[in-house]
């Protein structure tokens, strides 16, 4: 127990927590925005792969780091538009469409990587975002600007959802699309915009992995982070503030398991530590499930004039 306290009290631990949490914040906010508009987006896992790949590719081709982030956002938005076309335009099953997007985006990224780099033994690298050491604030000054952006997005999205007409429209189409339509809000347009913007955030989440956390693109680098984001949104009961809390909590467990693994030195198989964050995600879902207030129209396709 004393070990854990020592770890949690140390500064490098919290640096790691924030670094792990950053892509989860982007991804969770993206899923949250889609779901508040009433659309599940299981495309996140693949969109993160595509964002990680395209963002990295742009920087590798000589573009700036922020241009890489923009490319990743644009990639995410493009897949989001496809998801919107399938789930909003054609009212297909949101589960199946999302999984299809994940498979397509992942396959396209891996294919693109292999076409571009057929015979590389070590992945080609780029110079990633630097730490903001000039900031002079402990923990935060060891992070990249993307973390700052993620932290800024949390209150921004909360304000946008709760205090602006656009946010009200998003919440309306997610709770009661018939009523929204009656008020002159276009369900199709509102949902499409929400999915496209949300998916752009998922693309940025992926680009954090290749442009800040690491400096190259690897297969399987997203490794379930997208699914964790889907769980975190339920845990956060669809509120941006709580989403940040959830992402940080996940970061704490993930950073803790890494350090316990090093400290434990073989008492338990290392896989048991790696399981911990996933298992705790399920536990968290069970704990909040009873109180969860899903957006009322979530996963219900809306066809105009059909009940």
């Amino acid at each position: 127990m004393g070990d854990i306290l020592d770890i949690v009290a140390s500064l490098p631990f919290w640096v790691a927590v924030l670094r792990i949490a950053t892509p989860l914040v982007f991804g969770t906010l993206g899923v949250l925005l889609c779901e508040r508009a009433g659309v599940l987006n299981l495309g996140i896992e693949g969109i993160m792969v595509a964002g990680a790949f395209c963002g990295w590719l742009a920087v590798y081709a000589g573009w700036g780091l922020w241009a890489g982030v923009a490319v990743a956002a644009f990639t995410g938005a493009a897949f989001g538009l496809l998801h919107a076309g399938l789930t909003v335009g054609l009212a297909l099953s949101q589960h199946v469409s999302g999984l299809g997007i994940t498979m397509l985006a992942t396959a396209l990224s891996y294919y693109g990587y292999r076409v571009g780099f057929p015979k590389v033994s070590t992945p080609p690298t780029i110079t990633p975002f630097a730490e903001m050491s000039h900031l002079g604030i402990p923990v935060l000054s060891q992070q990249t600007p993307l973390t700052l952006l993620a932290l800024a997005l949390v209150p921004l999205l909360a304000w946008g959802l709760n205090r602006t007409p656009a946010g009200l429209a998003v919440r309306m189409v997610g709770e009661n699309p018939q009523a929204a339509e009656g008020q002159g809000v276009s369900v199709a347009v509102t949902r499409t915009v929400a999915i496209v913007v949300g998916s752009a955030l998922m693309g940025v989440a992926g680009s954090f992995l290749t442009l800040a956390a690491f400096n190259a693109f690897f297969f399987n680098m997203v490794n379930g982070r997208g699914w964790v984001c889907v769980a975190l949104v339920v845990f956060a009961s669809w509120r941006p503030g709580k989403a940040l809390l959830g992402a940080v909590l996940f970061g704490v467990f993930d950073a803790l398991q890494l350090r316990l693994q090093q400290a434990g030195s073989g008492a338990l198989p290392y896989q048991v530590y790696l399981m911990l964050p996933y298992a705790l995600s399920i536990v968290a879902l069970v704990v909040v499930a009873r109180r969860a207030t899903y957006p009322q129209a979530l996963m219900k396709p809306y066809r105009k004039g059909e009940r």
């Binding site: 076409v115 379930g224 198989p269 399920i282 004039g305």
Partner: protein, 357 residues
């Protein structure tokens, strides 16, 4: 733009839709093949040749189809009842592990009982392992309202890490020179191979028989009716007296068991032991297959052969023209989306004009 339900499907649309879906898929992948700088015609020819061009190609394709049929059936039965089981990958590994736990022998030792008994117990253990892995999430959904999509997805990671720990520890083959690989299955338990010099094994017949059985369950049994009713409208089904919790649990048990069997039959028919790379995502492909098949058990057979042929053909094609094998995954994912859209357009017609009502 709005969608209008067709009162009856037009016969033209029923023929045109699947053809259009296939053409759209071929067009998209043709663009990607061009981008890789390979001749499109030769690439497709090589894929067709590699997947279906010879007796050997057919045996390879059918071998690959066996686990896909089983995970496809697992997804079919679950999705039909609107239980979104995305955890077939983990259930497959759970089943494979259980099979080796029952029928594995260290260093050529004797089997602990008569072969038929151990074989039956091996399959039962695999089915049970798969079922248990899905019953947890299904119960949490029915009783606590926890979304099963997320829990089954997360379970995949937990199960795979668990299998990895077992392969490093108690289930490790000590003679495998440090390679993480389970103790081998006893030779007597391995499925026989009817075609000389090919890997095709009798697991194909088990998988096909299960597809036929599931088809009959859907068509003729009370359970099949309950499953279809629950999937069509859960609230109406419950109101009409369909036992909701029991149906959900039975569906979860069947779906998980089928995925678990996929693992056991892969071990008994193809690999002979468990490794971390024995399934290149068969669990996830099963969902694609179920959707391509329109959630019909017999359609699963055809869809599995198609997907398996694409995967096997891509391996051959990659050696001949050098296009990365990932093109197979692109084709499978694109065909899923194309078929979904095509199916929808046979049921709905798109009205571009502003609505008049």
């Amino acid at each position: 733009m709005r969608l209008e339900r067709r009162t009856h499907a037009s016969p033209v649309a029923l023929v045109v839709a699947p053809v259009a879906a296939v053409l759209a898929t071929l067009l998209v992948s043709a663009l990607l093949v061009r981008w890789a700088g390979a001749p499109v015609g030769r690439t497709y020819a090589a894929m067709l040749e590699g997947g279906f061009g010879s007796v050997f190609a057919w045996t390879e394709t059918l071998t690959r189809a066996v686990p896909l049929i089983l995970t496809g059936l697992a997804a079919t039965v679950a999705f039909k009842a609107r239980l979104f089981n995305i955890g077939a990958e983990g259930q497959l590994y759970g089943g494979a592990m259980a099979a080796v736990a029952v029928g594995g022998v260290q260093g050529g030792a004797e089997l602990w009982g008569p072969v038929w008994l151990v074989f039956a117990l091996m399959l039962a253990a695999a089915a049970l392992a798969g079922a248990v892995l899905l019953l947890g999430p299904a119960w949490m959904k029915a009783r606590l309202g926890v979304d099963e999509v997320v829990t089954t997805l997360l379970m995949n990671f937990i199960v795979l890490l668990g299998v990895s720990a077992l392969l490093d520890g108690p289930m490790k083959d000590p003679t495998a020179l440090g390679w993480p690989q389970s103790v081998p299955l006893a030779g007597e338990l391995e499925l026989s191979r009817p075609v000389q010099g090919a890997r095709l094994h009798t697991g194909l017949f088990i998988a096909a028989a299960l597809a036929l059985a599931l088809w009959q369950v859907f068509r003729r049994s009370v359970l099949g009716f309950d499953i279809r009713a629950t999937g069509a409208n859960a609230r109406a089904a419950a109101f009409a007296g369909v036992p909701a919790l029991r149906t959900a649990m039975v569906v979860a048990a069947i779906s998980g068991a089928l995925a678990g069997l996929a693992g056991a039959i892969e071990v008994a028919g193809r690999t002979g032991y468990v490794t971390m790379d024995m399934s290149p995502g068969y669990g996830y492909s099963g969902i694609v297959i179920a959707m391509l098949a329109g959630l019909h058990p017999l359609g699963v057979l055809g869809a599995s052969v198609f997907v398996a042929g694409v995967l096997v053909g891509a391996d051959t094609m990659s050696r001949v023209v050098g296009v990365p094998t990932y093109i197979a995954d692109v084709i499978v994912a694109t065909s899923l989306i194309a078929v979904l859209v095509a199916t929808l357009l046979t049921q709905y017609r798109v009205r571009w004009a502003r609505s008049t009502r």
